[in-house]
Symmetry: C2
Subunit: 376 residues, 2 copies
């Protein structure tokens, strides 16, 4: 937490749960990424936190933007980003949305299938396109699956076809998984991509870009390798497989830019036991899975908590949200401990909560308002 | 689907996904429940679908309301429900919210712990309170867990204590699980509750109410016992364990009133394969887990789909939403089949989608708007 956040928390009269994002931390994270990966173009993955103030700050710093929808594209444009700094990175797009983005000047599009390529050829003639390739991704906390990408050989065929359709086959993207902590995964993936570059060169298709996706970590409960180690692994993988002939590199950090920048303040609503012999307390907060903490799904993301009673003896707890929904449990299996002195009404801080909290909030499940957000 | 819904779907120019709820079906479901369980007071569980038009229609029919928050209480009052028809059924409440509900005239409150009881005694003096008891619930599609309720012996102690604190120990509630299809579960649970009534009578506490919760089904992909069978099981369980001395019965249907009343219209955005040999297609819709279909979590609720190509040959599909989130997969393991003739742009109808769809929608994940809703 930063002094600015401390001050905000000390002075606020807000009683509903909220997240407060320190924009200076976002800026710091951006500058660090640029320093450690000077060759990479940064495309902020807006979906992680679409607060206009965050987009605006990153825009002023020169960031590019990875967008998932027309809504996000409009947000970037409204914050002053020129369309050449916007990638329409969703592989699943309505043709009308492609046409709308193209009309606004967007010229960089993702795809992973033949039908999407046909839509792009029709609605975004001549645009730069990159194909998402399906990679295995062990070691990521938030699991990826087969939803995105196609096999490398299919991708190669589609890139050849893209040129035939009048598009500009620009490069290849992949994603090793959010919170990816196994650095060897990067090497494995880049090796495959370099191989595809060679194959396509023989077909006279000159790819010029590798999109490494996201996967940059925020600090949750478990330690993660430092950003330096990530940057080094990426740089090593790229230079070892591409040599002197480095393509343009795109990275799409979301969590890595905003995760650590946000702190949630919540309140303990109830502490109870289910029976006399239980040594485990149930601690209910005024924030839950449907009002900001969706990433606790399957207890995937393990947040760190700060309470006003820290330092005293602790005991095991299950943590849950305030809604009348039995799925609204944050942690039941993860072995969380909280102070025995914890009381109803205590404020609880949830650290590294700047990413994927506000946006996953429901519109008002159980009549509770969505997570409020402050950028300072 | 009803003729009214058919007509609406035929005439609408809406391109975003939406749900259309036929209020006459809600009314029909309400009347059916009243007919089959004439002794029960119906408390609509607003969280299932808080559209004002639904609350308004049920209010006019004389329904009572089970609410989870001050927001939901205000909604009921705004629709003309008097406070004596409102239950604050959430066992997790801020003291300020209890006081606020009490000030508005609400006099019926749920609890399941000592601390909550203390809050109620302080902020809602003299109110009727009922204790939620922890029941096992095999056979429910949407799993319940230990989040709500306490052990029967703890509940008994707390009800005795409630009277000592100046509250009115009114009854016991339990929930056998949403979509509960094992009718024997009802009998098991009611037996336990009747036993508690006897024990408490010896302590001079006269309970007068049993709250059977929800668990009434909507029709998804698998067949469910008809409402008649549910009503019969409940009636049998109550009469066999309480005899002539039947307490007041409260039921809290949510899904059972509105689930079947809603149809979602969505659109096929993309159809693809991940490699040449795959026989499985990926079908991507413009609605997903974060924009209305949250209950596909762990593939729990299996919706029925209607396409304009039904009748032709089908093949296996994985179904996913439009967001750049790999968790936004609807069905990958459930063996869904869709027509081989299905095409991008086809409208898809999702049946029995009137419950837990609009409310679980995110405020705008990936820049997509929340699920739109029409009540006709």
């Amino acid at each position: 937490m930063t002094p600015k956040q401390h001050k905000f928390l000390a002075e606020t009269a807000e009683t509903d749960p909220f997240v407060v994002v320190d924009l200076d931390i976002v800026e710091h994270n951006y500058r660090e990424l640029k320093r450690l990966l000077p060759l990479a173009r940064v495309f902020y993955a807006i979906k992680a936190n679409p607060e206009p103030a965050i987009v605006g700050r990153l825009q002023k710093l020169g960031s590019n933007f990875d967008t998932a929808s027309i809504g996000e594209i409009n947000l970037c444009l409204a914050q002053g980003a020129s369309p050449d700094r916007i990638s329409f990175g969703n592989t699943i797009k309505k043709k009308t949305d492609i046409a709308s983005a193209y009309a606004k000047g967007v010229r960089l599009f993702a795809f992973d299938s033949e039908i999407e390529l046909e839509k792009l050829a029709a609605a975004a003639p001549g645009a730069q396109v990159f194909c998402r390739v399906l990679m295995e991704c062990d070691g990521a906390e938030w699991p990826l699956s087969k939803k995105f990408g196609c096999s490398p050989r299919m991708a190669s065929d589609l890139l050849v076809k893209a040129r035939r359709m009048g598009l500009d086959p620009y490069g290849i993207s992949f994603h090793v998984g959010s919170q990816q902590t196994d650095l060897g995964q990067w090497d494995k993936a880049v090796a495959q991509v370099a191989q595809m570059f060679s194959v396509l060169q023989e077909a006279d298709v000159d790819l010029r870009m590798v999109n490494l996706g996201g996967g940059f970590p925020a600090r949750y409960r478990s330690d993660v390798p430092m950003l330096e180690a990530y940057a080094q692994a990426i740089t090593q993988a790229m230079t070892s497989h591409f040599g002197n002939n480095l393509p343009e590199i795109i990275i799409e950090p979301g969590r890595g830019l905003v995760g650590d920048a946000g702190v949630i303040q919540a309140e303990v609503v109830l502490i109870s036991k289910k029976d006399y012999e239980d040594d485990r307390r149930w601690v209910y907060l005024d924030i839950g899975k449907f009002s900001g903490l969706a990433e606790t799904m399957d207890e995937a993301i393990k947040y760190r908590f700060v309470t006003p009673r820290d330092g005293g003896p602790t005991g095991p707890v299950s943590l849950a949200g305030p809604s009348c929904d039995s799925a609204d449990i944050l942690y039941e299996k993860a072995d969380y401990q909280l102070p025995l002195g914890l009381e109803v009404g205590d404020k609880i801080l949830i650290l590294s909560a700047g990413a994927y909290t506000t946006t996953y909030s429901s519109v008002g499940f159980n009549g509770f308002p969505p997570l409020k957000s402050y950028c300072i």
